[in-house]
């Protein structure tokens, strides 16, 4: 369990908004690699190393696709490395661009892996329900109806099969059987859901006092985190776009922001790393605090045993 889960979902959402924006806004290799490293660390922290390898294997075709599309079909760049078949030359420049683009895409996919394990379905419902109450309600009902539908589908199947007895179906009859089954299922779930709707109305549906499954309150520590992250993000955007981020691939690799804007470069890299390392730092701090509490507890237990504290 990650300690980011103890906070309001808004904190995780803002974090993902910031890191996704940072990973997508540039193709500067340093930026992309920094985001990638932290994404990998976060995935490993949340899901474990094995799952990360599995993900990597799963996303590999996508990466190869991006590299191939970038370097096979264009001849930009000055340093020719080799010729691939009858295509245009593969240059160091377009190969680098392809690899960096592929890694940027990989980073985004990894962030979404973290998103899926950190933000649960009911939190998505809360977030949707705040701004779109009707749609939030529909989502909740859809999630509830899926297992119901599957369960009822099994029952319908059993009944339909029982009516057939020992009769074997041919190909065409099988299709008709399946179609009839789905049709029965549809009419059952429609009528059933309309009954639910009527009882909802009878129980005073458009009431303003609706509550959620899990209650989330934005307290002061959440607010502090949100504001810190937002400030860091704004600092990063300003310092990055004042020139330090500028990197051109064609005709040759050139980081034009490197020489001119040293201070801004340092500020933007530091703020970016702080944003990216946010959950990591939070987790370490919270673990440390927890250890401290445990230690105090042990101390007190020992003192009770030793008779220093009389505890009734």
């Amino acid at each position: 369990m990650h300690s980011l889960k103890d906070y309001h979902p808004g904190v995780s959402l803002l974090y993902f908004f910031c890191v996704l924006t940072c990973s997508m806004m540039t193709r500067n290799p340093i930026w992309v690699l920094l985001c990638l490293i932290f994404a990998i660390i976060f995935v490993i922290q949340l899901k474990g190393f094995k799952h990360f390898l599995l993900q990597l294997f799963y996303f590999l075709p996508m990466l190869i696709f991006i590299v191939f599309m970038n370097s096979y079909f264009n001849s930009l760049g000055l340093t020719v490395l080799f010729y691939l078949g009858r295509g245009s030359p593969v240059t160091a420049e377009n190969l680098t661009y392809g690899v960096i683009s592929g890694l940027a895409l990989l980073t985004i996919l990894l962030w979404f892996t973290c998103f899926n394990s950190l933000i649960s379905a009911d939190q998505i419902l809360i977030i949707m329900g705040k701004s779109f109450p009707t749609i939030g309600l529909s989502l909740a009902m859809i999630i509830k109806f899926i297992p119901d539908t599957i369960k009822q589908g099994r029952e319908v199947l059993l009944n339909q099969k029982a009516m057939l007895g020992k009769q074997e179906l041919t190909g065409n009859q099988k299709v008709k059987f399946a179609a009839r089954m789905i049709t029965v299922l549809l009419s059952w779930s429609m009528e059933n859901s309309l009954e639910t709707a009527d009882s909802m109305l009878a129980k005073g549906y458009p009431s303003k006092n609706r509550i959620n499954y899990s209650r989330e309150h934005l307290n002061s520590s959440d607010l502090g985190l949100l504001i810190t992250m937002l400030i860091l993000f704004i600092i990063h955007l300003i310092s990055a776009f004042s020139g330090s981020i500028k990197f051109t691939y064609y005709p040759f690799l050139k980081w034009s922001g490197f020489a001119t804007n040293k201070n801004m470069l340092i500020i933007s890299l530091v703020s970016l790393s702080l944003i990216l390392a946010f959950p990591l730092v939070l987790d370490i701090i919270n673990r440390y605090k927890w250890q401290k509490i445990l230690k105090q507890e042990q101390n007190m237990q020992q003192q009770i045993i030793d008779g220093i504290i009389v505890y009734e």
Binding site: L20, L185, S187
Partner: protein, 223 residues
Amino acid sequence: MRKWSWLAIISLISVMAICAILRIEQTALFIFFAAVIAIIPFFISYERKKPKPRDLMPVVVLSALAVAGRILFAALPNFKPMTAIVIIAGMAFGPESGFMTGALSGLVSNLFFGQGPWTPWQMLAWGMIGFVAGILSEKNILVKPWSIFTYGILASLSFGFIMDTWNILGFVQPLNYKNIVSSYLLGIPFNISHAVSTVVFLLPVYKTWLCQLKRIKLKFNLK
């Protein structure tokens, strides 16, 4: 309200075109958030109608069926009944309900399969499939079986087309006709599997389902 929805789609397409033509470095970022924003007008117009719980139910039930179907057929790559059900929803209950069925079943099914950068695109693509199906059937174009199947095939193919676009626009630069065409060609097998599944699911049920849904609509006086 329908005007705003069209405006959202047109502005999304123009953002994508501008990003592609100007070769903006942040294309992936801009068009991702543009897609998220383009869904909002549809949601607001649905929310504005203040539907009664009864009128919510068609969307809820059909989305649940679509998601259940996608889960049951998850083993076969890109073979899913979602598109067929969304088309039927749009035809039976009108464009707005069609969009909501598509968008919500896209969102909910990704709760099971994992959210990703594809979520807003899937929501938009399935939503638009339902929306356009609704509009076409309002104009009495989707009446004959062959027109419904043609629409099913076209919708499935354009779904794959929309899914590929974000990857290509965002991560392949500079674009020329060669890499655009070959990227889309690589996706063709998946899209054909999708189109086949749509027709396979539409074929046996569309007639009975439409009839049944219209009867339910009349019986319970749904909007």
